[in-house]
């Protein structure tokens, strides 16, 4: 499927940039034929993935880099990639289990939200090299009906 538009940005691994990242992708998603509620879901999954990069990927180290790329395809599909170059995930299957968190103060629901609110979730990670989270969701009316 042909690409219609994309944005790509990178930022320092600071907590205050989580809001920036989700707002940017949310504003970009407004180009799609989607509802405000769906835009809020997009913002939520971006928030979860970027928070994961900062908290788990970089263990809150502030001078690292997070990259976000969002693409709109001609069939009203949005693809989002969130990438860090941190410590990676040793056991992806375990990390994706609901309520699993290496941090007791968090809910461990990040990947659960990503799976629930997107059509596709792919996590590629290598210990010591980083993690790339790819999310995909189609906003074509017929796909939405099929999911309803």
């Amino acid at each position: 499927m042909n690409m219609k538009n994309y944005v790509r940005f990178e930022f320092q691994s600071l907590p205050e940039n989580v809001s920036f990242a989700r707002s940017c992708v949310g504003a970009f998603a407004a180009q799609l034929d989607c509802t405000l509620e769906e835009i809020e879901e997009i913002k939520l999954v971006v928030s979860e993935a970027v928070s994961n990069s900062i908290i788990h990927g970089y263990i809150n180290k502030p001078n690292e880099k997070v990259v976000v790329m969002a693409t709109i395809l001609e069939d009203q599909t949005m693809e989002i990639m969130i990438e860090d170059y941190g410590q990676g995930i040793a056991d992806i299957k375990k990390a994706m289990e609901p309520s699993f968190s290496s941090d007791p103060a968090r809910m461990g629901l990040g990947f659960t939200f990503m799976k629930s609110f997107m059509d596709e979730l792919e996590v590629i990670s290598q210990p010591g090299k980083g993690t790339s989270v790819k999310l995909k969701r189609c906003f074509l009316a017929k796909n939405k009906e099929a999911l309803a």
Partner: protein, 110 residues
Amino acid sequence: MELELKQVRNTLLVRIRGEMDMVVAEKLRKEIDRKLDTKKVSNLVINLEEVTFIDSSGLGVIIGRFKKISGLNGKMYLVGARPQVHKILMFSGINRLVSMYNNEQDIINI
């Protein structure tokens, strides 16, 4: 994020305004726990009427305070979540642990 803490007898009322994500999670946790640690609180009411966004970091603060107040044999109530925030709360299953009300007056009327 703005935070208002008000204690009336043994009830701590927490009004949060803004977004509940990892930026504010630590501040929220510290401010609420400072009050809970006095052990003079047995009811914790968190008013979410003005919360415009919540993710799992924000949910973590809520569930953590629930565990803490439960450990003190107290009770926790959530008030006034907007539809989008309410949806995330329901999704997380917090509603099975914590009583949710439309507004502060509803709790007073219990």
